[in-house]
């Protein structure tokens, strides 16, 4: 076994780190948390100009999955606004895998400039985990389709030029068999985007589709073949595009805080034995999260099909992130309750931030329970529960 990066991958990582040093300014970070939009088109475009963005598309170009992992892992560790980028590049990967020349020219080429965004329109108000049950209808009308319905949690819809939209095209067959995926231009008449604020800094959206007409050229994959397109998208999402090292920036903030924070027992918090133990335990969890993610990337890079490795990494890392946040929030005491821009806030408000943000990590991108179901049935071969 060899845990070192290849010279090429190490070089790529240095380039990404140099890019972040130069471009991830305090202003960029402050703006993302102030606006709730974890997407920065100037930042994305600068990444593209630096030649680093084509590497962000799974399965595209000459970057391999290890480099894809490196890019998103560095963005995540640095606390950069990458949510919009991850979703956009995921869609780029789906287009690359199943799209037409029209989709590549109209959408993929533009996404690679960093100036354009895509969002994911799967979830609905009444259908989340059971996403194959969605109700948004698409009805054929000659060369066109007419879309009616509502999506929920359409994060980045307000920034996006297109959405990939999961629709029901045949209500009379079993639920997985009547779905079709579309790439929908967000400026189509009949689309409305409403903000949905959250308990953390990030915002998301509800999106409404009222008689939206699009040409058949916007269909992604076969009619009633939407579930297999979802399969491609989920394989990318539950892989290596961030989300498995959230406690790395947390630990950095805690360590910086503890170096200066006085302990109620005298001395500095950094000398508190329990805090030191918990820092070490979190550092161990961060290593494990990284190794599990690398394994998923490495399997893909060596021509294998990562199955549930990405799910296992997410299950593990998000659980430990929440545990670590709980520990550090308690140990920061009342100052840990104070938010960004509040004088005296522990870790400049980052502990409050992580305690607000961490609950969503076991919900979005497939809940912990859904991931456990998948591991139980598809990895351990246990009989189906439902």
């Amino acid at each position: 076994m060899d845990f070192s990066l290849s010279p090429r991958a190490a070089e790529f990582r240095s380039e990404v780190r140099a890019f972040l040093d130069a471009n991830l300014t305090e202003e960029v970070v402050a703006t993302m948390h102030r606006t709730g939009t974890f997407n920065d088109k100037d930042f994305n475009a600068a990444l593209a100009e630096a030649g680093l963005l084509a590497g962000a598309v799974p399965g595209y170009g000459d970057r391999d999955p290890i480099e894809l992992y490196i890019l998103f892992n560095e963005l995540e560790k640095a606390g950069a606004p990458y949510d919009g980028l991850a979703v956009t590049m995921l869609v780029a990967g789906v287009i690359n895998a199943v799209g037409t020349d029209f989709h590549r020219k109209q959408v993929l080429d533009r996404l690679l400039t960093g100036r354009f965004n895509c969002c994911l329109g799967y979830s609905e108000p009444d259908h989340g985990s059971d996403v194959a049950a969605i109700a948004t209808r698409a009805v054929r009308d000659g060369d066109q389709w007419v879309i009616d319905g509502q999506k929920m949690w359409t994060t980045m819809a307000h920034e996006s030029d297109w959405a990939i939209l999961l629709t029901r095209t045949d209500p009379d067959v079993p639920k997985h068999k009547g779905l079709t995926m579309f790439l929908v231009p967000m400026d189509s008449p009949g689309i409305e985007v409403q903000p949905v604020p959250t308990m953390a800094t990030e915002r998301t959206n509800a999106t409404f589709y009222d008689g939206v007409r699009i040409g058949d050229e916007w269909r992604l994959g076969d009619v009633n073949g939407g579930w297999s397109v979802m399969g491609v998208a989920l394989a990318f999402e539950r892989g290596v595009m961030g989300g498995t090292n959230p406690a790395v920036p947390l630990l950095r903030h805690v360590r910086n805080w503890a170096a200066d924070a006085p302990s109620p027992d005298g001395g500095q918090m950094i000398d508190d034995p329990l805090l030191r133990e918990r820092i070490a335990r979190t550092a161990i969890a961060n290593q494990v999260g990284q190794l599990l993610t690398l394994r998923a990337a490495w399997i893909a890079a060596t021509g294998g099909l990562p199955g549930l490795e990405g799910s296992m990494a997410k299950l593990y890392a998000t659980d430990r992130y929440q545990q670590a946040v709980g520990w550090f929030q308690q140990m920061a005491g009342a100052e840990g309750l104070l938010g960004f821009d509040t004088a005296g806030a522990a870790a400049d408000g980052w502990i409050d931030y992580d305690a607000r943000h961490s609950p969503v990590t076991t919900i979005y991108g497939g809940t912990t329970e859904i991931n456990r179901n998948n591991v139980a049935e598809r990895h351990l071969g246990l009989p189906r529960a439902r």
């Binding site: 360590r255 000398d271 030191r276 961060n286 299950l315 991931n371 179901n373 071969g381």
Partner: protein, 349 residues
């Protein structure tokens, strides 16, 4: 980056998996209680050259790397093989590094071990494999010494039926003194941590297999219990924990082998850790936790039978704890890791 075993390591894995399962599996572990060592199995292991495999070929050994040994350790753990392979391999490497390894230790006709704790009043407490080892290497003050003599042949009665014994280190041969002595012992201890982590990965792996097999077979309410979601979810967390522990132990072994690209980094802010001492500690803590969780949940899935002596899962449950805790409290180990990751604390306990 290469996360696969080499072809040679695959061969090693297969050979030892077969050997341990056939000659030193859970039935033998059960029969070997309370001493925790199956003498005939060790003697058959000698025929394979395993005891000296971690020494260079020039010293009559097998030239195996720490990574190779970790592969063996996982298979040993998977079968809870009652043979002191890990302690012997680590002690033999230490003896070689500090001078010369006696032929009887290279060949394994005499068993060597590492005293984990420094001697107090001339005695090192709870020496792993101390019940059966003729040679005990350990620290007595600022000296690394080798105490040779008859093994007591009885273990202190303990949770995991491990061959633990208190061993005197007074009147022993001095191998090294001063900082060299501490450095050599620290290195050996990190190798022991790494290989014990490997063994704990094996324990976790088999515990999961036992739990899954049982959950598929056992029927209640007219269905296999493995179709109940509560049971599924107890087990579904385990593959990630076990794989994570395997990767961390392998990374520690890779760092210990000092391959290219090793630069001994402890960069907490970037989650970049390649320092052997740090990784060895991390691997032991994490593998101990993974094995404890896996055996705990698997035992629970067995219902009352999990608590019965007759079922194998209790053998794994007790060893998961005993192997992980022989060195001491994991919280203390974590504070030691923190000292490596951060500036050492003045107040560190």
């Amino acid at each position: 980056m290469d996360l696969a075993l080499t072809a040679d390591q695959e061969t090693i894995r297969g050979v030892f998996a077969d050997f341990f399962t056939a000659e030193a599996g859970p039935d033998r572990a059960r029969a070997a209680e309370p001493l925790g060592v199956d003498g005939p199995a060790w003697n058959r292991l000698l025929e394979t050259g395993a005891p000296g495999m971690g020494l260079p070929e020039s010293a009559g050994g097998g030239g195996a790397s720490l990574t190779d040994l970790a592969v063996v350790a996982e298979e040993l753990g998977a079968a809870i093989a009652p043979v002191p392979f890990i302690e012997h391999a680590v002690a033999a490497r230490l003896l070689f590094a500090t001078g010369a390894c006696p032929d009887a230790v290279v060949g394994g006709t005499e068993i060597a071990t590492l005293a984990l704790r420094p001697a107090q009043g001339g005695i090192s407490r709870l020496v792993p494999a101390g019940a059966v080892a003729q040679h005990v290497a350990g620290l007595d003050g600022d000296r690394l010494v080798l105490a040779s003599g008859d093994a007591p042949g009885v273990a202190l009665d303990n949770h995991g039926c491990l061959p633990l014994a208190d061993r005197p280190l007074g009147d022993a041969m001095i191998l090294l003194e001063g900082t060299e002595a501490h450095a050599a012992h620290a290195r050996a201890l990190d190798e022991w941590r790494t290989l014990t982590a490997g063994a704990l990965v094996g324990i976790g792996r088999t515990a999961l297999d036992l739990g899954v097999d049982y959950a598929k077979e056992r029927q209640q309410f007219g269905k296999p219990i493995g179709s109940f979601q509560a049971v599924q979810h107890l087990l579904a967390d385990l593959p990630g924990l076990i794989e994570g522990a395997r990767l961390l132990a392998a990374k520690a072994a890779w760092a210990g082998d000092g391959g290219p690209g090793i630069n001994g980094i402890n960069d907490l802010d970037n989650n970049d850790v390649t320092d052997f001492a740090t990784l060895a500690g991390m691997a032991l803590v994490f593998a101990g936790e993974a094995a404890a969780t896996a055996t705990d949940r698997s035992l629970h899935v067995h219902g009352g039978y999990g608590f019965a002596e007759e079922y194998d899962i209790q053998l794994f449950y007790r060893r998961a704890r005993a192997w992980a805790l022989t060195l001491g409290d994991p919280s203390r180990e974590c504070r030691r890791i923190a000292d490596l990751l951060l500036e050492p604390s003045e107040h560190a306990a």
